[in-house]
Symmetry: C2
Subunit: 361 residues, 2 copies
Amino acid sequence: MRTLNVQLEERSYPIYIESGVLDDAERLNRHIKGKQVVIISNTTVAPLYMERLLGHLDESLKVSRVLLPDGEEHKTLATLEQIFDTALRDNHNRSTSFIALGGGVVGDMAGFAAASYQRGVNFIQIPTTLLAQVDSSVGGKTGVNHPLGKNMIGAFYQPQAVFIDPDVLDSLPAREYAAGLAEVIKYGLICDPAFYQWMHQHRDDFVARKKVVLEEAIERSCAAKARVVAEDEREGGIRAILNLGHTFGHAIEAAQGYGRWLHGEAVAAGMVLAARLSARRGCISDSEVDELVDWLEAMDLPTTPPEDMSVATWTQHMLRDKKVVDGRLRLVLLDAVGNAAIVDDLPRAELEAFLETFCPE
Amino acid sequence: MRTLNVQLEERSYPIYIESGVLDDAERLNRHIKGKQVVIISNTTVAPLYMERLLGHLDESLKVSRVLLPDGEEHKTLATLEQIFDTALRDNHNRSTSFIALGGGVVGDMAGFAAASYQRGVNFIQIPTTLLAQVDSSVGGKTGVNHPLGKNMIGAFYQPQAVFIDPDVLDSLPAREYAAGLAEVIKYGLICDPAFYQWMHQHRDDFVARKKVVLEEAIERSCAAKARVVAEDEREGGIRAILNLGHTFGHAIEAAQGYGRWLHGEAVAAGMVLAARLSARRGCISDSEVDELVDWLEAMDLPTTPPEDMSVATWTQHMLRDKKVVDGRLRLVLLDAVGNAAIVDDLPRAELEAFLETFCPE
C-alpha cells in the first residue's frame, strides 16, 4: 500500500493510494469512529460506486445517504442544508463520520458540512476524479460558492483519512481526465523537476491511464502539495505557488462564463502563459516552453487563451482575483522548470506589454 | 485595565474588562487588521451603541453594517447569509475584520460568519449582555440553530479580542440581567469556592449592578471558563462541567417551548436540581442547597421546575440531550460547593426516584 502521511501536527492524516483500495473494507472501517456514517455523493457517482461502498461498511453501523445534484452550480449553502437535514433527521450525533464519495464539488461540500455539523465531525474522503485526488485530498480547503464569488464561504478542515483508488479513473470522461493531468503537471513545474521529467518520459502511459504510473503520479502530486501546505497551512505565503496558471486561468473562466472551460483546462492555458511570461523575463528558455506546450497538446489540453479576450478584459479579471492584496497583483511565475517564484512587484506596464503579444487590438 | 489572556497557544487572545472600554478607540483600532470592517449587530442593540462605536473607528477604514433581526428564532443559516451578502457586496477581502456588537445570538452568528467568510477572517467581540460577557466571550463556540436542534451547525472559532464594558449592562432588562447572574453563580459552584463565597457576600451589590463588583465577577467568571476550556478546547471531557444545570435546564426549555423561559432561568432551576440530587447522594449538605435557593430567589430567578413536567417528560428530554453518549446520560453534579463532578454511571432508577420527589403523579 502506498501511504502518504500528511504532517499537520494533531491534524495529520494518511492518504492511501492503490488500485483496489476502495474494496479495503478493514482499513475503511478502522477510520470510522463511532457507530454512525453519512455518505455524501452525487447523482452521477453514486450509481457507479455507492452500492460497492455500502457493501464494505460494518453491519453494525447506522448509515445515511445524501445524493447531491451534480455540478458546480449546486455548490451552494442551500445544497449544503440537504446534508444537515439528513444528518439531523437521522439523529446523527457528534461521533458520526461523514464520507465524501465524488469529485471536488462533493468533497468541498461534504468537508464543509463535516467541519460545521455540531461544530465538527470525523471526515473521510474518497475522491473519484483525478483533479480531486491530487488537489482536494491535501490542504483542507472546504466550502461552497456564493452568487458573488467562488469558494467564498468555507473552512480549513482536515480529513481523518483519504482513500484514492486509481481504478475509479477508468470511468472518468476524457476531458475531465485531461483536466486533472494539467494539475499533476503543475506540481512538477512548481517544485519537483525530477517528477516533471519522469512524467514527460511517461507521456504515453498517462494517455493509456496505466495504473502503476497513475499511482506514482498521484502520490508524488499529493506529496508535493503536502510539503507546500505543511509550510503554510492557512495560506499566508508560500502556498500561493500552488496557484501557478490560476490567475490567468481564473480570468479565462470568468471571461468565458464558468463551466465553458473546465478548471483544469483554464489552468493548462494559464500555465503556458505563466511559462511564456517567465521566458520573456529570461528565467526559463523558449524551448522549455515549447516542450510544455507540445506535451499539453498531446493530452488534448488547450495551450492558448480564448482569442477574443482584450488586454482590458484580462487586467480587469486578473485584478479582481482573490490573491490580489491591497491592489497589488501577485503572480506565480517560474524561476526554472521545477521551481516557482511568487512575483508581487510586476509592473503593470510589463504585464500589459506581455498581454499585447497575443491579444486582439 | 483588567485584562484576561485566554491561553490557547497561537489562538490566545485578550479579554478587556472595564467600565468605558467601549470608548477606548486606540485599543479597538489596534485589534482591527487590514482596512475593512463589518459590524454585525441587531435591531435592538444598534440604536443604543452603533453610532458610538462607529465614532471610534479609524477614519481610513471601510465600514459595512449588518443589522440582524433580534431573537433566537432568527439564529439560522438564512440569517447568516445576510452577513455574507453584505460582506461580498461591499467587496470585503480576507483581511477584513468582523465585529460582533450584541448578545449571545449576535455573537454566535457573527463568529460563525467570521469563521466561514473566505475560510476565516479576523473576529472581535463586544458582548452587550451579561450572559454573553461571561459565556460567549470564552470558548470559541459559534453557530446557528437548525429546525431540528439548537446550535447544530457551527464552528469552534476564537476571537482576536473581546471588549467587555459593564456600563452597557445598565440598559439590560432586569430579567436578562438576572439570567446572566445565574451563569456567573454557576462558575463559582463548579470550580471556585472562594468566588462563590465572595459573590454571596456581595449579593446586594449585584442587585444594584455596582460596576466594580461586576467587573470583578465578569473577570473571575471568564477566568474560570478559560481555565476549563484551556484544558479541553474541543469538548472531549472536563469541559462538560460548564454544563452544570444545563441537562435539567434544556429539558425545561424544550418541554415548555423555547423562549418561555430564558436560558439562564432554566439553568438556575437546573442548578438547584443538580444541587438537590448531589445532596441526596451525600456530596453536599441540605443547608448548602438552601443557601443557593435563597440567593437565587433574591435575584428573582426561578428555583423550582415547572409543575406540570412528569417523570416521563423529564427523562425523554434529558436522554435526547447533545451530551448523551451512546445512550448513557452524562450529568454534572457537585462533589462540594465549588467543585463539580461528571457522573456518567447514574442508574436510571436513581434519577427517576429523584424526579419522583417533585414531579406530579
